[in-house]
Symmetry: C2
């Protein structure tokens, strides 16, 4: 029988037990005491290098990720220094009450690698975690690190702020678009532009590649100076076209950030994660407070237009 | 010269000064002490009835809002009880570093009403407000109330969680879609379904209306029992077709929620607003904390893989 003790499970996961790893990830998703214990262990091991893959629904992210796995296992070294014999993949489906989100995910995707022992694929949905997916994902990445994975691919649907936020926990972020991307993504272009290190115009055998590339170049020009100007690549994931070039671009970006920036980037991310946990903890206390009498008094005063939320909150926090 | 004192400005806005109202809204957007003073005054006046209008970019929300203004001014009574001689409109563009968001908004939209003294139109972007747009918008609504508006239309682009959240501050929420809405909005359908009281299939002179209606009906069926089942209307905003029916549906929905639900709905919203302010205040303190030595020590420990964000946060909050 498999253990329920995080300490044992981390040791087993580090020795290659996928069952132990899966259970640890469930702890992370579900929240509660085992999540805290798991995090306490996982954050004390080195983080994998994280490649985020995001973009609108239907852009072909799963197929691209699938092909990337093959390429990484084939020739996956970063400048000849680190060879990747194993790849971990997190598929993030922000859960939806109507579609059930991630449940189906790992079953239908990336079937070709499902039985490969060097590949670990897991779908994640938000469940009981204190900070939701935006904290569960960094935790899961660290759990993959504790299981000795040195590379993690994170695939998210890049439509909302939260998905962009998840993508931004990556060391290298790939934004997948299609020829003719435009109106549908208009509102979120800025968010995707901010996180992109590499653009892939997937389905590049369709018309409109040149226009899409020009569109992206123009937006990058408008975005001002960047130390790293995002690369724009063409690909046809279904025929594995452009995947080697994608991996080379990832390697080049890693090389770039390693010159001083990886530390800086990780420091910034550690701050963001710490602030998110602080906020989530405080919010959970506010939730507890919200069952108190003083809180109800303020709610009633607000309903009677006798106070405003700022004075009410200050009073509840003991400032007045 | 116009005052900078919120007390004076609220009095002037209540007497019809649009300049005073505009300045108060700027206070709300910008944060800082005048925002708190303005809120303190505005929340002590009754809230307007809020109609939210949301939907994907290009759905025709602005044209629909424009037509709705005309209809409201023409025949805007709620069951003959309240006649609306004045309409206020907030256009929310979640700001984007690339497009500048709201800046252009009020200039290009709803030109027909721009010189009508019974109509007040304002675009909002997030600036310095403690809680961003998700708090600035409720504040702005209350400022409109302080300026004696009894009806506020809020137009937002419904693509992300935040926009849905803003829409949910409305008493009646209209979700505008087009024939053939589908793949592009797939990921956010659930969010829009949750907030919609009325669906408008705008541009209903195009093919695909029946399929879109069937699609929406099916999703509503899947969503389970609701006390109010969202109405689905056709419209062609450019020719003012279906706008009277839309206003009638709004009136019907208001009548429905007035039977006990308006209070309940407002109580729930007051709680959400209070919690948001509490969280924002605490987060702002965490921001202050983030300049301290103890915080830096924890960041360094995290970078050295010597702790995890949960223990670090607990320690900073004085729990350990």
């Amino acid at each position: 029988m498999i253990s329920r003790d995080p300490v044992e499970l981390v040791a087993q996961a580090a020795s290659g037990s996928r069952t132990a790893l899966a259970r640890l990830l469930t702890f992370v998703e579900s929240g509660g005491p085992p999540q805290l214990e798991t995090a306490a262990l996982a954050y004390r091991t080195p983080s994998p290098y994280v490649v985020g893959i995001t973009g609108p629904p239907g852009a072909g992210k799963s197929t691209l990720t699938d092909q990337l796995i093959t390429t990484v296992l084939d020739k996956g070294s970063f400048n000849g220094l680190d060879a990747f014999h194993e790849v971990s993949v997190l598929c993030i489906d922000p859960s939806s009450p109507f579609t059930g989100g991630a449940i189906l995910g790992d079953r239908i995707r990336m079937q070709g690698h499902a039985t490969n022992e060097h590949v670990f694929i897991r779908s994640m949905a938000t469940r009981g975690h204190l900070g939701g997916l935006s904290l569960a994902v960094p935790d899961a990445v660290r759990v993959l690190g504790a299981a000795k994975f040195r590379l993690a691919l994170i695939e998210t649907v890049g439509v909302g702020q939260m998905e962009v936020e998840i993508a931004s926990t990556a060391d290298t972020t790939i934004v997948v678009v299609n020829p003719g991307w435009g109106d549908a993504m208009q509102a979120n272009k800025a968010g995707l532009l901010e996180v992109a290190d590499i653009f892939v115009i997937n389905k590049a055998d369709r018309p409109g590649v040149r226009e899409t590339r020009r569109d992206l170049e123009q937006m990058l020009d408008l975005g001002g100076e960047h130390a790293w100007r995002p690369v724009i690549l063409d690909a046809v994931a279904t025929t594995a076209t452009g995947i080697d070039e994608l991996w080379e671009a990832i390697v080049a970006h890693r090389k770039f950030i390693e010159v001083g920036r990886l530390d800086e980037q990780r420091r910034a991310r550690v701050r963001v994660e710490l602030d998110k946990v602080l906020t989530a903890m405080v919010r959970s206390r506010i939730g507890a407070l919200a069952h108190g009498e003083a809180y109800e008094e303020q709610v009633n005063a607000l309903l009677a237009d006798e106070t405003d939320p700022y004075h009410a909150a200050a009073l509840l926090l003991g400032d007045e």
